[in-house]
Amino acid sequence: MLTKRIIPCLDIKDGQTVKGINFISLKSVGDPVELARAYSDQGADELVFLDISATVEGRKTFTGLVERIALNINIPFTVGGGISSVEDAAVLLRAGADKISVNSSAVRNPDIISGIASRFGSQCVVVAIDAREVDGIWRVTTHGGSRFSDKELYSWARQAESLGAGEILFTSMDHDGTKNGYACEVYRRLSGILDIPVIASGGAGTAGHICDVLSDDGGRADAALAASVFHYGEILIPALKRELAEHGIPVRL
């Protein structure tokens, strides 16, 4: 049976992990490769590396890091952050990334989705969507939630799918960082209207929250992504997976 995926997300700046990590003793807390291996050993199903470097130098470092990750990690990984052209994506895929995620750049220029999909296949295109609910409408935001676009979540998700997105990663900016749980009803609706997998992100505080967003009675998401709850050891992946299994959610143990 196809399992639901648990995906830790690592923010990378100038080739180093940013957020504090204290869930496991590492030789170098800042080394993304070592952290990635630790997550992989714990049972993470995939990894996401988000480049938040602001400089050209930082970006070059990131490409080198992707090569090291690909050489050392034997589970799939996605890279994102600042990919604004098909060529940007090509460089990272050639470096060994399995998938790339586009966000603001796709809102600005939706053709980047079909551009990458037609050249490298839909399976490697993750379209990340950030949105906030305003007067009952989920409005798509860019630049880390700081700017509103003219797009509405559900129609944009469907458009992204028709352009060739292989997966949709939706983050509710209203829930992100609250640790009060995911926007389950939104994932449930997305999962109902899309024929591609939906990854939930934003709001995880407990294993129960992840259980809710993945369950058939809840958000029906195909995968759950989280960052700080994993990095700070508030949720440990082996215990999380056991709890999910106890609730009848198929996971890779």
């Binding site: 196809l2 589970i75 490298f120 399976q123 024929d195 890779r252």
Partner: protein, 200 residues
């Protein structure tokens, strides 16, 4: 020396990286002379079946592959190419195994709602042959595909997604897996290691 058959299909970087991790020497080649000198062959593949078969025929590789007696492992599309026919482009494949490859939508009832592609970790069972000697029945592997091979006498692993399909095949020296062992964690690497070490 492992010969990775390079016919221009998709990203083979991950296969190369896995061989590096396993300490296996390899060469990427599309010419028959180089490939003939290798002990084992890998047929990778990400892409479309008709396009891939056209490339293999163009380079004379289709006949070479059919005629080889070396252990050969096809991965993902590479496994599908070992079958007799694929619905993807309605193309005759290498015909080493009798299995036919069809789209998931063609082999699942209309009322079954499936997300396509089949992407993620799924279990393999009914395992046969020493390719799986270090892997327990029910082990999870990483899949990414929209077409699947039916079950036949050469099926050595079965997976279920809307339907039961062949997640691995074996006929003599020819082996194939639909999943990506190079992306399937330690369990996947055990399968690659078994392919590299076993005298088939």
């Amino acid at each position: 020396m492992i010969g990775i058959i390079d016919y221009g299909a998709g990203n083979i970087r991950s296969v190369e990286n896995a061989l590096k991790r396993l300490g296996a020497g390899y060469v990427l080649a599309s010419d028959i002379e180089t490939l003939s000198g290798c002990d084992r062959l890998l047929l990778p593949g990400v892409g479309e079946a008709r396009w891939a078969m056209d490339r293999l025929r163009e380079k004379g590789l289709a006949d070479f592959i059919r005629g080889t007696s070396k252990p050969l492992l096809g991965i993902c599309l590479g496994m599908q190419l070992l079958c007799s026919w694929s619905e993807e482009g309605d193309v005759d494949c290498l015909g080493i195994m009798e299995n036919k490859v069809r789209h998931f939508r063609s082999v699942t009832p209309e009322n079954v709602r499936l997300k396509i592609p089949h992407v993620g970790w799924n279990s393999i069972s009914s395992l046969k042959t020493d390719l799986f000697r270090d892997v327990p029945d029910g082990a999870y592997m990483y899949f990414v595909h929209s077409y699947c091979a039916d079950i036949g006498p050469d099926t050595i692993a079965v997976t279920e997604y809307g339907t039961r399909f062949s997640s691995a095949l074996r006929k003599g020296n020819f082996m194939g897996c639909q999943f990506h062992p190079e992306k399937s964690g330690d369990m996947g690497e055990r399968i690659l290691a078994a392919f590299l070490r076993t005298g088939f």
